[in-house]
Subunit: 456 residues, 2 copies
């Protein structure tokens, strides 16, 4: 028997192996992301410019090329409450697929935020706290980031306003409730407490909101209040830096069972879970010590890597953030409404974009009916209900495992299960009743998005 059949179902790192440092992939990338440009002057921005938006520690991390950045003791202490997260061997899924592949998943859903988002919320709130910031704002779409910041802000004692996309707040009252349980204030966006919100409401009082509007409101609210800062949960370099603890733990856990992945898979929206998971594996590839295939999976309704262009674009719909070079469908691109709300972002993290442009990672896009089908198979075999976002990674893992069945290869497939689907049951019901359609993606939609790109 060549297959490793005695590996535990769940591999736990001992607490003392918890990462002490964030790993910064920018230290090792052959080409670093192009510099951010100021939205007005179009000149490259430095740390001091970014400090208009972020506190110093985070602004420095955003542009840092230091390889290892120490995790503050207070943050390590907090991580201990829910980390290291488990690495699971998917024996039952393997059996159902009758594949010679060995499938592992790193699971980030076992904290009350329900996803990996807490990993970055904690240090972001912490750095703001020690910088003397007195209150925070953020936005949330699907609700996982808002929940994560609420939990962290409560812990460190900072008041928080969460601008939550209004239709999402209405559709997911429980997400709103958990944010409020942690003492944060939920502001359905568009609201009448910001200029940008009032402007939109005056044009369309019934507007259900969008992530772009919520970002504008949260940023405006932060800039208009004393000692208040805005925090963001994806896309940025410092977010991926924080998420690198996922990949570091996964690599240690795989070593504990004497495995190394042939394939590493993550879903890709803004790029934070993917970037954090793959960082150390990309490092090993770059150093010539490994040659894992690395696969980003995005929804076909919002395929920034596979159908977008690699260009400078605004990170936000209101065009007030610095301009970033990334794969983008254009900040004017409005994706069809799909259930993986966390993957409906027009662009992609500059780090992930650069890796893809340099052919260091692969990408594929998938329609949501295939994604839900994979999510259901996983839920039934592994007894764990995945978030629709995470199910994108499951689908690719299943597809690769099926390929192994054809070829007879005993590949080691590792994917990141970024969160659970307990708050997405409406989406599952919709799928089961046959109502989850595959959003068609028209050339006109693409054109209107790309037309919104700033002039080169």
């Amino acid at each position: 028997m060549s297959k490793k059949d005695t590996i535990p179902v769940r591999v736990f790192l001992p607490e003392e192996k918890n990462p002490k440092f964030y790993y910064n992939l920018m230290a090792d990338m052959p080409n670093r992301p192009a510099p951010y440009l100021h939205p007005a002057t179009k000149q490259p921005v430095g740390v001091s410019d970014l400090m208009g938006v972020f506190v110093k520690d985070l602004a420095e991390q955003e542009l840092s090329s230091e390889r290892y950045i120490e995790i503050p003791k207070e943050v390590q202490e907090y991580y201990r409450m829910y980390r290291p997260s488990p690495l699971h061997r998917a024996y039952q899924l393997e059996k159902a697929l009758d594949t010679p592949a060995r499938i592992y998943y790193k699971y980030e859903g076992q904290n009350t935020s329900g996803s990996h988002k807490l990993n970055s919320a904690i240090p972001q709130v912490f750095y703001n706290k020690i910088a003397g910031v007195k209150s925070l704002t953020t936005e949330t779409g699907a609700g996982q980031w808002g929940t994560a910041v609420a939990i962290a802000a409560n812990f460190f004692g900072l008041p928080l306003d969460v601008f939550m996309v209004k239709c999402s707040a209405q559709q997911k009252p429980h997400r709103k409730a958990v944010i409020e349980t942690y003492g944060a204030n939920v502001v359905p966006s568009p609201s009448n407490i910001t200029e940008s919100g009032r402007k939109i409401l005056s044009e369309d009082p019934e507007c259900g909101g969008s992530l772009g509007i919520a970002i504008s409101e949260a940023m405006e609210a932060a800039m208009g209040r004393e000692n208040t800062r805005y925090v963001l949960g994806s896309v940025l370099n410092h977010v991926i830096l924080h998420q690198s603890i996922i990949g570091q733990e996964a690599m240690e856990q795989l070593q504990m069972v004497d495995e190394y992945p042939d394939i590493v898979i993550g879903c890709a929206g803004g790029g934070s879970n993917l970037g954090g998971m793959i960082a150390p594996f990309v490092r090993e590839n770059l150093a010539g010590r490994a040659s894992s295939r690395i696969i980003a999976v995005e929804p076909s309704a919002c395929p920034s890597l596979t159908r977008g262009v690699f260009a400078y674009d605004y990170a936000d719909a209101a065009c007030i953030c610095p301009i970033a070079k990334m794969y983008t469908l254009g900040h004017g691109f409005v994706p069809a409404s799909i259930h993986a709300g966390g993957l409906r972002y027009h662009g992609m993290s500059p780090i992930v974009s650069q890796l893809y442009n340099d052919k260091l990672i692969e990408a594929r896009s998938e329609p949501q009916t295939r994604v839900f089908e994979a999510g259901m198979l996983f839920a039934k075999t592994e007894a764990l209900l995945p978030a629709p976002e995470s199910a994108h990674a499951i689908l690719a893992a299943i597809d690769e495992a099926k390929r192994c069945k054809e070829t007879g290869e005993e590949k080691v497939i590792v994917f990141l299960l970024s969160g659970h689907g307990y708050f997405d049951l409406g989406a599952y019901q919709n799928y089961m009743s046959g109502n989850a359609v595959d959003a068609q993606y028209s050339d006109e939609m693409l054109k209107s998005g790309l037309d919104s790109l700033p002039a080169a």
Copy 2:
């Protein structure tokens, strides 16, 4: 420093330490529960009588006094997917309370059923499967048991009808959805597919249902179909037997960090999580090797141990189950509507009742506003949102830890956190908006319940 400050926040048992046997407390109890009586003849029932309701393995377990009963390999295999569950040290809660006590909690919410219920659903479905049963029925109130059976029934390939209290199915559409995701059929109860359901609907077409009605329908449906059995998630001896893996793991985990509890705490509804948690600790007390205080915490709206009588009563409202000797408020007792739906049962497991009657455990009852207050403090300090049921145990742990602060005692307090509160956010919102009232419990309610007891 006398306090053990270097204990990991989360203690994980290695997989090979997973219990291989269920521990049967009935083997060691000085007084075993009184025999069940047949509902019609009032004569003691044996295994063959119980086989009218349960398959042979479960009927035997219900009456067994064997100390250790082997866990079937297939069930062990399934447990490996989510067990051993972690034991947490509640450092942050301790800090908030400024207590010299060391507080630990065993957490059973990290599986998709959201609670300990899966521990018994798996063996119950398994034993039915190998006995050749072709389909199952059950009932669910709060939804955790229905979810657990749905997950297990799907895994072992048995069709399942879940009779779900109608108002609960309406109030908790997500609970209904997760049950359906696992392929089970949810029947809002009262339904028109059973005689008892039709009878109730003809009298009150708008009836929102009750656990008692749902049990009647599920049992009737099972008895009326070929090769179909009914499974129950609490109260019974074999359920507590299965749940003994919780206590066994907890004891091993405490040994790993060189601790033994001065106080063991669990919430008590039907008694399944409490009974499973305390079983091995009661054994050690009885053997004279330890002297832990053991505390059951029930809602003051449904205080079977603290205000009920120790008498023979029906386990179900329809009076078709065997009669059991237990602490009971009378099967006609209708508790006020509180948010800990899982604790609204008129009686208490015969095992737990006998232990209480023999003064081997303590009991206390608590109003829900105090319970929610404790749950909120726990959520904010430990970053984990508890189920309202489990928050009863948290409250007692906090009260005991506060007492330690007064006396300066460094007691070791261990409680069972039986499940998460992600599906109870409506309840938390209700509490936060000041609308969770402490259900008053009148002498008339008690009298009408006790009047329903069968003649001695």
